[in-house]
Symmetry: D2
């Protein structure tokens, strides 16, 4: 049994961690840390947690953290963990960073896309990218995890088999992303105001989303050469769920059946990736509340394009669930522990 | 470990039972029975179940059922269980009827409100109404459970403390119900067609809903005199969730604080009822995917009315979750077993 | 042809006025006034107005207003018009106040429910309550209109025939209100954050909503004695639309057919009230984008209650459409002018 | 003043025609024809039309049609107009076919994509494709209009300027389409069942949608060589609205500003196409209830892709509004007549 703390206790990422940790047998959630609302009970903000958590949220006391817990989840907005994790690197704590602070290996790129100074290069280098289906061995030995972004999780799981097996060209790669509004977090804004987004679809951050360098960095690593993808995210009038529809130029003649076989074989040991059969494509709700990533595939023979459709729950496989999957691996527990619930449908 | 079968395998009630039973340690789901789609895999209809259930659905073989399972859930539309349960009454099977077939004790009333012949009177009399917060002892000894309707669950839990303690008059009692569309089931119709119900609210079955006699029957039992309530259900553009706003004429001078204390004390041993503090009222999403019923209370001193707001997830506490809560009690298991998950929020 | 200005140009009320005035032949919209965003083009905030309005928004110059326009719409939050209208009372301007500032005739009541000082008593007394179906003659002669609130519009139109004809008791009167989120305006908040309100229903301001004294004031006027109603508003996950389900104790034996006839006769000259036939009840979408108020009626013989269901588009009949209906009457134009469009369905 | 009939009176296309024709000064809607529900009042199916249309729907009497009306709108499902229009070709009637029956010029292609026999080649050849921004002169002289599909309208208006000016390669062209559920019509099915599509996104008819050959046919005509596009439609949980995000490989060095200028100049005389400024992209709601097509453009310099985002209301510019725009042109009326309303927002 290990003890855990969540820093950034009032965002949706933290709330989802609380939900999932409640049924995790090896982790006890010891502390919910919120500098803005410490002293308050979390159920006063989130009444659905009534009867689950009685202790008030706490202020961060970084020096005593190591004595009290073993695992720290950073469910913080960009810019926080890059300051805190360097202070904890010498400790024995396992740090899981759900923010984007440690995902971009080049400090210059981070500055360019995030518009702020990067974390120390050493901290960045010590962090392992927590996409278990691809970097499982590294994760098992990691102490700091940089938990992937929601769009990168969906698109990398969808693209990597095709890139690695050189089924598609490295360029152009089109990623058309669609996400539920919870991906924008809990801070009210015009962009998340119900009357503005309900019954509405809109592209946003066209050509500028900070998940672009993250996707390209890992695709390039797999391809062993520079890959640049075109990524356009869209806001969808739903709370949870994220789907990427991806288009790649085929390098070879391959049938839909063959590409499905290739993906099934690529992910055959992975409990959270489900490859759909021919003619079947995932809907975001099929993963609702669960850690699955479902992938559908189609070879468009008319245009020689491979269409890859990859869907997740942005708050689970795209955030809190993947964080727990990483912790399970880091601690030698069953990778599926606490995560094998049936999706909530409808 | 007991074995269970679900009859009526492709409706939303069955799907929710499958989800909840997956994390139930004492029950193994042995059979999903669907006469219309036997032979098919349920994941071909519900892809979210991919990797969870491999066996095809089966045809009902009522004679051999007793040999294969211990518990039978009837997640069937009205009119089925009233024919099947009488054939199983002599068996050792525990039968949980999620339909309305056994809820109305008077055969004449059933005929009037359901427009069809009732079940045999003996079967009706043998069935226990599965509202555990009120009828716990009877449930523990029951073999046939008539699982309450979704609106009756919400409204009875909200009204019974006030009726029993004679805080409000028995008439008029106004119940204004609002339900998500999943309550209408999975059969497509104009009433559940997305473009017709999205961004729309509509009252339906005004004065004619078959939950009216169910509510009145149990309120009358508690009051020891005939209670007739006015109930108007509304369709709300959401998938899950049900909320009843109820209005009763106060018989005494009582403050909001005092009525809250009375309810907290009434439900103090009940794990699934959460009484809100003064000025706080439940939202349906606070229960999403969970078995809780949250109740908020307000004394309107200007008009001498008690306002009671009671919310549930219609598919969990209003159907499958309550069914499992009943099974837990019937078998001497922890009442909360398999049901103590955190609501899925947001 | 008259010229008009809108003060408070960036809220949803203003936007709806702009839409409706665009097809009004007798009014030219001369100025959109916004103190917070003057100088900006309104299409930079509301791109749907691109190609419709080129002139930038202006700062309020109250002294020159009379020279430039004939009609002023106050689409301002509470607290603004009560200061501005007294400065314009001596002018020839027609003032239509869409806010609640002039609706409560008692200054003490305004203070109690709005938590702020009321407008000068003289200004309040000069304002006519702009519910045309009830106060048409007064409106024709008015210079200052206090445009009704959205809930009061729906509930007064639903209740007044029954109260006036003494069909129901004056107490208890239950009004269960349900509104789309646009009623909460355009300022982002937790209460209007998509992920919080989507797929969710919640009661709010229970026993405290500022529309309560407005409803009671006009019901009391009709009844010629004090009427206090119990009103509970609910937030519904839809953008537009508002529906009140109302319950009153019958004072006489009357059939559903007879009450429908009474309502049809009461509103027979009113172009914007449509009484539904027996067994039919309005859905909010039936009025979408239009100025209609549809009313359905049911006598619940079991409980001796009259159920009245009254639905409007909260931004049209509940705000901007009714404002224009009032202006039409004040100027001797056809009451329906600019408002007889077919609802946008689905 | 001309008289019109709508055939296929109970679908959403017909309903939208009724709404728009109500404010059209030159057309009187004389007949609503529905073979399945003739004799019924349309307001019994669509209560929002109460007080607008009193006459019952009629049965089709094709022989007498010419005597009674001048214009016939076919708002029928695929397979009807191909049989009816050949019978009317010798008459003086103007026929506007909102179905796909006459859109594909090759009978073989129609058979392949629609799975049924095509219309007579002569009828196909006589029909003019009703995309007024591109084929205005042909439309002015047409007697039979094949009204474009919703996805082709959005994608052709977005792609044609770039294809015609040879800004992008003819291959690959990626069209990622997202549509509201009303595009699937009014017949209930699992695909349009609220609980299945709410809070959900799903791709459908991947590689098989019948709008693919329509898009390619007209792109090829513009390019003067064969163009094959990759098109993937998605169902979005909203009622109205359609948006295509399109990706094309740049053939030249061009900036976002320059491509915007090119589009503005291409569409400078077109009242219904609005090109957004740099960094601004349309949301579907910006066109709600109106005939506009808004287009946003971005040059992704990293990947040398042109991103084109084109949005419409699928029931207006994607169906009924465009039909009326065509009729206006055919009759020499102002192209904008009856269509210049402000979008309904929010």
């Amino acid at each position: 049994m290990k003890n855990a703390a969540i820093i950034g206790g009032t965002g949706y990422g933290a709330i989802e961690l609380i939900r999932l940790l409640h049924s995790h047998k090896h982790i006890q959630l010891k502390k919910i840390i919120s500098n803005s609302q410490h002293g308050e009970q979390i159920s006063s903000i989130y009444p659905h947690l009534t009867s689950f958590i009685e202790e008030p949220m706490e202020k961060l006391e970084i020096k005593s953290l190591e004595k009290e817990v073993d695992i720290v989840f950073f469910a913080t907005p960009a810019g926080i963990s890059k300051k805190l994790i360097p202070q904890l690197e010498q400790s024995s704590l396992q740090c899981i960073d759900l923010s984007g602070d440690l995902r971009i290996t080049s400090q210059d790129q981070y500055l360019e896309w995030y518009g702020a100074e990067a974390a120390p290069q050493e901290t960045i280098d010590n962090a392992v990218y927590g996409l278990p289906e691809i970097y499982k061995e590294e994760i098992k030995n990691a102490k700091i995890i940089s938990n992937p972004g929601c769009f990168p999780t969906s698109s990398l799981l969808g693209l990597i088999p095709a890139i690695q097996h050189k089924v598609i060209e490295n360029s152009p790669i089109i990623i058309d992303g669609k996400t539920g509004i919870s991906g924008a977090g809990r801070t009210p804004s015009a962009m998340t105001h119900f009357s503005e987004v309900n019954d509405n679809v809109k592209a946003y951050k066209v050509g500028k989303h900070q998940h672009i360098p993250e996707i390209d960095q890992y695709l390039s690593g797999i391809a062993n050469e520079s890959v640049t993808s075109t990524f356009t995210p869209h806001l969808i009038p739903m709370t949870r769920g994220l789907i990427c529809t991806m288009y790649g130029q085929l390098k070879m003649t391959i049938s839909t059946e063959e590409i499905i076989d290739l993906y099934k074989s690529f992910y055959q040991s992975e409990p959270f990736v489900r490859i759909r059969n021919k003619g079947e494509f995932p809907a975001t709700k099929d993963m609702n509340g669960s850690n699955y990533c479902d992938i559908g595939l189609h070879v468009d023979e008319r245009t020689n394009q491979l269409i890859i459709i990859s869907a997740i729950d942005n708050l689970v496989k795209g955030a809190a669930g993947q964080a727990i999957q990483n912790v399970n691996l880091m601690n030698g527990w069953d990778e599926e522990h606490g995560l094998n619930n049936v999706p909530v449908y409808p």
